[in-house]
Every structure is written in C-alpha cells, then in structure tokens.
Amino acid sequence: MVNPLLMLAVALGVGFIFAWLRPYAKTAAWTLLYGALVFGLAVSIQWLTHFVSGGVSTTVLPGGFSPPVGIALGWGMKEAFISSIVFLGGLLGSIALFKTWRDTPSAGPVLFLLTIAGSIGLIMSRDLFNLFVFLEITSMSTAGLLATGRHHEGAVSGFKMMLVTGLASVLFLIGTVYLYRITGTLAIDQILVSPALAGTAGFTASFLIIAAILVELKIWPANGWALDVLTSAHPVIAALISTVHSVAILFVFYKIFPLLPPDSLLIFTSAGLMTFVSAHLAGLRQDNFQRMLAYSSVGMMGLFVTVITWTSSVYGHNIPIRIESIILGGFIITHLLAKGGLFWVVAHFKDSEGNFDITRVGSTTLGGVIITGLILALAGLPPFPSFWAKWTLIREIAASSLPIVFVILLGALFEVINLFRWLGRALEGESHCAVHAPPVLSGIALFSLGGFSIGAIFLGWFPDFNISILIPFSGLIAAGLVAFLPNRIQISISILILGLAGFALVPGASGIGQAYTAIILGSGALMLLTKMEAANKDKWQLPLIVGTVLTVAVLGAVHTALEFWTSWEMMTAVSALLIVRGKNAKKSALMYWTFSMAGAFLLLAGLALAVSATGQTDLSKVFAGAPSLSIILISLGFLFKAGVLGVHIWVPDAYAESEDDSTPYIAALVSKAPIIGLILVFYYAADAFIGPFEWRVLIGWIGVLTAFFGALFASFQEDVKKLLAYSSMGQIGYIIAVIALGSYTGWVAALYLALHHILYKGLLFITIAGVISRTQTSLMYKMGGLIKRMPLSFVAVLMSIIAISGVPPLPGFGGKWMMYSAFIEAGWTLQAGVAFFASGVAFLYLYRLIHTVFLGMPKNEHINVKESSIWRLVPMYIIIAMIMGIATMPKLLLEPIMNLVQTRFPATMHWEAANLISSLGSWNGNAIMMVTMGVFMLPLILLLFRVRGVKRVKPFNIVYAAEKPERPETTHVAHNFFAHYRRAIGVIALPRATAFWRGVAEWTDTLGDWVRQWATGNGQTYAVQVLLFVSVLYFFMRQTAL
C-alpha cells in the first residue's frame, strides 16, 4: 500500500513547481497537475477498498516520531472515504475549470491543488497545531481562489473571509497552545485522555478550538461571510469550498468535538439545527440561484453537525458503522455530487457577463434531466443516497427525540420547496436558444448518475427493501429512452411497460394492495390509449405519465415501512414533475409539491416513530404496534396528500394547470395514493390506537366537510378543470370519511367509491380534455351547445355525472347507499347529514358542467368543432361499458371487495340473490336497473308514437315566437351561474384556507427575509457576529459543562 502522506507530498510538490514548469513544458505541467489528483484519488480508493474489506486503521508518523513529540496522522476507513470524496470533487472540479485556467495565471490551478492538499491534511492530521496550519492553508488558498471570479465581489468576499477566518484561527491558536500548556501535548488522542482536560482552563481552551471550527463550519449566526463567499466565487470554486473544503473541516469537527464534555452535545445539535432551519428559511427569499445554493450548503453543514453530535450523544463512542456510513456517507456523497453538480450547472450556463439564467438549463432535454436529477438528489428523493440517509436519520432520531425530527423536517421542507421552485423555473425554459452540450454537461450527468448508482449500492444495507419497489424508475427511464420513437409505438411500449410492471408487481402483492396495484395499472394503461391521438409536443410527458402510474401502483405492492415511504416519495416527485410540465403550472406545481412534501414529511415522522417504537420493519407489524401519535402523524400525512379541507388549496391549481392530458392520471390515480395509505394504516392498526381523543371521528368530520366544501367550491368555478378538481376533492372527502368509520360497510363503500372515482373521474377528465383540445378554452362560459358537435362526449359526461351524483341506476348510487348505511349504522348521523347536503350541492356543479359546456346556446366560434378523436372515444366508451356493467351486475364487483374487507372486519352485509342486505335496508342494483329502464322506456315509447309531429329547429330558434336572438351570448347565462347560491351561503365558501396559507407563506417569507438580513454584507459585522456567536455559545456551554 502506498503511504497516504504521498498523496499530500505529491500534491504539494506539483503545486510548488507547476507555475514554474508551465511556461516551459505546458503539457507536462498539466499532466502533473491532473496526475496528482488522479494519484490521490487512486490511493484513497485503494485504501478505502482495503479498509472496507477489513483492513485495520493505521497511524502515520511523519518524521518517525510518535506523539507527544511528533505529529500523528490518522488513516482509517473514514479518512480514506473523505479523502476519496475530496479528490473526486477536486478532480471533477479541475476538469470543469480547465478552460478557465488555460488563459489565466498559474496561481488558479496551484491554489486549487493546494486547497485539495490542505483538505487532505485536515482530514489526516490528529495534531491540533498541525490542524491549525492546514486550516490556514485551506483558508489562504480558498481566499486566493476567490479572485478567479474577475469581479470585485471576489476580492471583497475574500477579504471578509480572511477577516473572519483570521479571527477564528486566533481563537483556535489560543485554545491550542493552552491545551498544550495544560496537557503537555498537542496530539488530540492524548489530550482527550488527559485528566487535566476536565478543569476550567481545559474547558475554555477546548471551547475556543471548537468554537473556531464551528465558525469555519459556517454555523448560524456566524456564517454571513460564507454566504458571500459562495455567492461571489466562481461556481466551480464555490463547489470546491462548499463540498471539499467544508467536508474536510467537518471531519476536523468530528475529530475534536469530544474535547468538550458529552453534556454539551445537545448544544451543538441545537446550533446545527438552527443553522439548518435558518439557512433554508433565508434561502426561500433568494432570487440568486448561486446564493440559494450557498444557503443550502450552509444548511447542509448545520445538518452535518446535528447528525454527528446527535448520534454521538445517543451512541457515545460506539456509533454503529452502518448508521454512520448511511447517514453521514449518504449526505456527504449527495452534498459533493448534487450540490457540486448544481454549482457546476451555474458555471456552465453562465453567459459572458457572468449572469446566470436558470431557464437556459432546461432548454435542452439533457440539461433538464440533469438538473432534475441533481435537485431530486439534493431533496433526498429515492434512489439517491440522501434518501437512505434521510430515512435512517429520521428513524434513528425518532427513537429518542421527536422535536428534533420536526425541526429537521421543517428545515427540509423549506429546502425542498426552495429547490423545487428553482426546478420549476429551470424546466420552464423550453423555447430558449438551444445550448449545445459540451463535455462538462456529460460530467454533470456523471455526477447525477454517480449519485444514482451509489444510491443503488446503499440498497444493500437495507434488508427491508425489495428492489422491485424501484421498478417505476426502470419504467420511467425505459419510457424516456424510447421518447424518440413515433408516438404510437412509444405509447404501445409504454402500455407494455405497465403490463410488464404488472407481471412483476401484482403477484408479489396481497389483499387490498394487490387489487389496488392491478386496478391502477389497468386503468393507467387504458387512459394511455388517449395519447394515441396526436404526436407529443412534450417529450417528457409520456415517461412521466408512465412513471406516475407506476409509482402510484407500486404503493399496493409494498411490504415494509421503508418500501412504503420510498414509493410514496417517488410518487410525490414524479407526479410533481408531471404537473410542472403544464404551461403555467410553475406556481401550482410548487404548491402541490409543498403540500405533498409537508404531508410526506408528516408521514415520514410518523413512520419513523412507529418503526423505532415497534422495532419492526413489516408494514403490518409496524402499524399494528404503532403508538397513537405515529398513527395520527401518518394519517395527517395522507390527509395532506388527499387535499382535505384546510389543505385543499393546491388541488384546483394542480389539476387545472397540469397539461390536459396529464390531469386524468393525477385526478384519478394519484388521488388514490392517500386512500390506499389510509386503508393500509387502518387495516393493520389495532382498534385501540385512538389515543387521547377520537382521531377517527375527527378524520370522519374532516372527510365529510371536505366533501361538502369541495362540492360548494366546485359550484362557483368558471374553469371546467378547476370544477372537476374541486369535485375530486369532494369525492375523496367521502372516501376518507367512510374509511374513518372503520366498519365493514364503510370500507366496502370506500373501496367501491374509490374504484368508481377512478372510472368516472378518469372518464370525465379524458372527455373534458378532448373538449378543451377542440375548443381551446377551459372556461365554461366560453363554451356551450356542444352537444350538437360532440354528442358522444356529451353522453360520456352525462354518464359520469349521473354516476358521480349517485342517481340510480348507475353504480354511484350503490356507493352512496352503502355510505349512508354505514354512517347511520355507526351513529354518525350528523356526518351523514352533511354528506347528504354535499351530494345535493354536487348537483349544482354537475349540472353546470354539463349544461354550460354541452347545452344552451352554442358559441359562434365553436360552430365547427369536431367530435373528440377515436383514440379518446375508445377508452371513454370502454369505461362507460364498465360503468354500465357494474350498474347492472354490482355483485360481480362487490363480492370480491366484500371478501377483502372481511379479512379485517366481520361482515355486516350479505347477499340474497341480487339483493344486497345491510342491517338497515337493501339494494338490488339489478332490479333497479331493470325498473329504471322500464319506467324510462314507457314514456319514451309513448312519445315515439308522436314523433311525426316533431319539428326540429336550429339552436338559436328560441322563445315562443321562434325569433332568433341577435347576439347569442346574451342568452348565455353560464357565467356565475349560481350567483344566488353564492349570495345565500357564499360567505362560508370564502377562500379562508387560501388566505390562511397565504398568510403562512407570507409570514415565512418575512421571517426568511428577516433571517437573511442578518447577513449584512459587511465583513466587520460578520466578525462581530462571530464574536457574538462565540460569547453566546460559551454561556450555553457553561450551563452544561461546569
């Protein structure tokens, strides 16, 4: 094995001669430079593999003297890992900078290389003064590098950095020499065991050292300088500082924090948390992408400190290597690859004036894919390493301290909102000038792919994770790879993918989940047929649709809590991406993302709590033994995702602004994810989970109120897609309410309603998408009289509104019947009343939907629209056939559902021939169908006898005297159709939730603004803040330590 110090020596040597050699032997100089980095990487990786396969850590003694007289350098697995990271980041960064370096002075590459060398020294050294020297090396070299930017900001921030790090190193130095004075040695390992450390002087000296490192680590509030530095530096340099350098300093912290007594760990944890939250909070207000990244980097450092000190406070010195590798390793790799990658993106897409416009990134497909990958990796989504890290971290913390979980998740929420906001902007720029994709881009692709594959490696550490859960990704990628094929072939392949996924997933699932997965995949495939109509304008859409269907479907096939959380996150991410593809969907998608993520994090907290409380991984056992609080958190998460009253404000926009062709999948399929989630929770959870209050009753009320307000809001919409969105909200409300009932009838009703919702909401959205594509508007009052032009669509809408409203004989009635029966059985009579009112109000919007679009006066501009294409009509009528089939033979569908539900609740309904008997009444779907047909046919036949006398007139030919209105639009009363209703009870339909959440957003923004103003930009103020930080920290520390 190569002596690890050689990495350092080679880097230093090359650094010394590069500048001199370059004028004489250009190629040799560059070869040496890159050679040094490659050498270092190779050595580190060689050692890393050595250690991973069981090698023993060693100590390197330069000069051959061991402490206390000499300097000891540690070299073990952690060191090798971090140094691999450092060299990898350095190598990639230097490649990215090559073009810049070619025509600037040699100092650039030299400083760069020496930063790497200094970082290696920081990683290896276990001697305090030696650390001081290497700290100075790295801070001098990074400060020098800041001048690369060629703007005065670089010099200004370099000055600030030198000022603050100078102050910090004075503190460090004083602490160091006093520790030497007290303990007689400079070696950390000897100091740690020295009895003299315990005294006041030892404490103070240790405190100074650690405070200095915390300042270098950019802990809030002493981090204003770092933000300025990362903002003003050349992005690749910023990447170096924020990843390589910071990680090295982090490792220093890791080595020295045991100097202070264990009681003080909580203070470090809090400081880290404050940094994490405040950075992301302030990041919310950034309109400079690089500065946002700076905040994000700072936040990451806070999280690192939290993780390190927290694990140490729980496990002492015996932190399980697996936990450390997953959490710290995962976050560090992500930090290096994803954050570094984003900084690179900035570097690559900067224009000649140094301005960065993120919309240019998304202007090419590759660019879009890359930035999506990087941002998702940073946001901690599967299968990237950070995802596993986040899961493990939250699970571990949940075992001991729930408040910390919430604080972390709050910060993480700010972060993901922030990241997605920028992703939305990036993907917006489809039409900008195409940027050709030079090697750097492929380098960034390497970054994200690297993250991806390393994430895959992480999988091996999770026995409770079945790889089949990642099938959606394969599907997404496969569908993406065929995006260049002609449309219809592409769709056929997509349908095939869904089928294959079905073969892979369905057999492994069981019970309700199995049925769910099969149904989702089947209906997804059916809806995909509609895409055959026309060539895709948007290459992304189809893969994302396939991904959405698959991620929603896979939820039914999970067995463990981790699998569930994974598929949930995938579903959230992919569906958000699908929404953001809409033309003006940036804001709506952000809102969707925000609420989905908030829900997901509640879910995560709940799951983590349940997993750590039960010590189980299997979903059934986890839920069965879960504490009440975790059940509450989990179901709250689902309620967020379901968009129940109070958090519904994302629903209309997300549905309305997503592409018309994507909406069916979101409305019909994605909306089922929280339903299956709730069902799974309550399926497995013990009946006694109710806890301090009747949580189920509360959910029930939330459900029926959601149903009511969904219907009410829908009645006041002018946009047909928003109307349908609120309608979905309402329908989901019913389903949630009956799930909350937790009774046999309720659950049969829930499953039945959910299945129907897929059918008729899919049907409606497909049909309406066809109408919108023909009329080019989604505003209902701009349509009218389309029954003449699109009769088949009219019939489809008619069928679905009859089904939704629950009017017999269509199957909607069955759902309503079971629902009321279940409510009344359970004694939830008031809820039943509200539900009934809701379904009454539903008539308003349903009538409005069909009337203003299809009936009434046609608009002049729509005189010549055509019927929807055959590719829409076929799936539409397949669904209609299914609806009719169920209406006639409800038993065929209900019997399997009842069998499924019987596994959880004792049956309270039974069949007598075609008659379904509940404890309260009976329902004979078959007979009702017959009777309805009969009573319908009778008058029809009577009327048909008189058909001779019928005189057909043109639509405008109205009013008794057959006069023609001059301006047909004046006879169109569709706008604000239910004005009187609004006058009567509109006051309860005021957008209070919207106002509330807007208030929350504004307050958060204001808070973020306030936090970020802390970074005044004045270097001297930063120095004062450092001193302030040190002083305050000292008093907190004293509390615990002395």
Binding site: V133, F159, L167, Y178, Y180
Partner: protein, 117 residues
C-alpha cells in the same frame, strides 16, 4: 510568564477593537496584525519557565542539563510558524485591500457590502 501573557491578551483586545471598529481596511489589517503579535506573546510566555535558558545545546547548556534548564522549545517552534503564517495572511489581506481599492475606489468597509442577503 503571566505578565507577558496578560500583555499579550491586552494586545489581542486592542487589535480586536481595531479590527471591529475601524472603517478603513488598512486599519483593520493593522488591528489584525496587532492581535497576531499579542497571540505570539501569549504563546511564547507559555513556554517560558523562570530561570531557564534557551533550548540550544552549547557550552552554556549541556545535553544532559537540557530537561531541567532549558525552556520549552515547542512554543517557540509554534510561534515561528505562526509568525510566518501571520505575515502571509497580512500580505494577502493587503493585496485584497489594494484590489478592492482598485475596483471600488474606497477603503471603507461599509462601502463594500453590496453582496448582502
């Protein structure tokens, strides 16, 4: 020696005061430099033991006597390093100041805070 270390700390305080309150970049650097000197004094004072001599083996100090008669050589070594580093930092700070003046025509630290928030 306590007296010298206290002197060192006082110098650190004065330097710090200069660093934190002066507006002129050069004066800030002067403050920094003074602070550095203070630190050096503190370090050397820690290595000193009353009545002992420099740790150089010569006629006055035989190798055998060194443990009992020489002062601690390590703080001296540390200070040497620290002094050189201090100079390096000062030089770099000054070059930043020159650069800032060149770009912005000001040496007032309040005028170079446009990178805020």
């Amino acid at each position: 020696m306590t007296l010298v270390s206290i002197l060192g700390f006082v110098l650190i305080a004065v330097g710090l005061w200069g660093m934190l309150t002066r507006r002129n970049l050069i004066k800030i650097i002067v403050g920094f430099s003074i602070m550095d000197t203070g630190v050096h004094l503190v370090i050397v004072s820690l290595g000193f033991i009353k009545g002992r001599t420099a740790p150089i083996i010569n006629k006055a100090l035989s190798a055998g006597d060194a443990p009992s008669r020489a002062v601690d050589p390590i703080p001296s070594a540390l200070v040497l390093t620290a002094i050189v580093i201090g100079l390096a930092v000062t030089a770099l700070l000054l070059s930043f100041a020159v650069r800032i003046y060149r770009e912005k025509r000001t040496l007032n630290i309040d005028d170079i805070s446009e990178l805020k928030w």
